[in-house]
Subunit: 187 residues, 2 copies
Amino acid sequence: MKLVVLRIGHRPMRDKRITTHVGLTARALGANGMLLAADDPNVKESIDNVVSRWGGDFFIEIGVDWRKAIKRWKEEGGMVVHLTMYGLNLPDVIESADLTNSTNSIGVMRNRDLLIIVGAEKVPPGIYDLADLNVAVGNQPHSEVAALAIFLDRVQDGAELRGTFAGCDREIVPTNVGKLVIDRTSG
Amino acid sequence: MKLVVLRIGHRPMRDKRITTHVGLTARALGANGMLLAADDPNVKESIDNVVSRWGGDFFIEIGVDWRKAIKRWKEEGGMVVHLTMYGLNLPDVIESADLTNSTNSIGVMRNRDLLIIVGAEKVPPGIYDLADLNVAVGNQPHSEVAALAIFLDRVQDGAELRGTFAGCDREIVPTNVGKLVIDRTSG
């Protein structure tokens, strides 16, 4: 199961931090990479820096043509899920997993490669039709970072929070008070 | 079970959008309100606007003294949970729920009033000691918005995504394509 985020509607000045949060959330929750439909080297640099220190092989591509990316994903047999507050509510999508023949179910997502579209404030209207599934994480206005996090957490088996990242310079030892970090670059 | 977010380390210019995402995520996922340890009327205005249109009684207080807020919360019998990438990993905290006498378990959180501390990039070192529990949502650098979202989703029963908000002007009808919104202000 491949999980890739397609970030659209990014405005370089205004959205730099939110888009960086989207990318880091995708990485931390087990996605393979992010395609950014904007040419913003600052976001790429921020995320590449985290990858080089904290490990793993999360990739980020900038300047991506979103129409071509969606088309290619579908041609290769993947599924396209658009996260939007107007979509089908995630718990309903999950509960219909047992309904055979339902195309609106998380059952059809499991074991499929998913391209997860995460928009900024406004998205091109065509996105709703291009997506195989439009999914809301609660039908309330909140945050695309939160929506992506909960979607990734629920669509996987929950073990993604225990993920380890190969080749890291830094690794946290969980503790209830203070900070314990193994730093492999020192000593 | 009362759930209130305490947002610390907020820098008005730099963090306005992220803190607004934190507040809206808290509201959408069933928290009662947010205390902001900074004097930023813009954030309050953004969130109050969403509450007035989309309903519910989520509150936001600005200019809060975080030391006093934590002290008062504890005096009233509530529990203080600090979300930090250095803390105990959430899945481990959840799994220890069945261990009686464990103070590091989600079991002790259930049915307690929780003050959930969400820091920006740097937090005062004293926070780790003041918190009853320091919890990581995966021990990787990502986003406080994502961490809060997954924490709220997992600490509740999952039904919070179906929450309804009384007194709303606008309400979404979930649909797989396009946008369906009931607007009670028109007509």
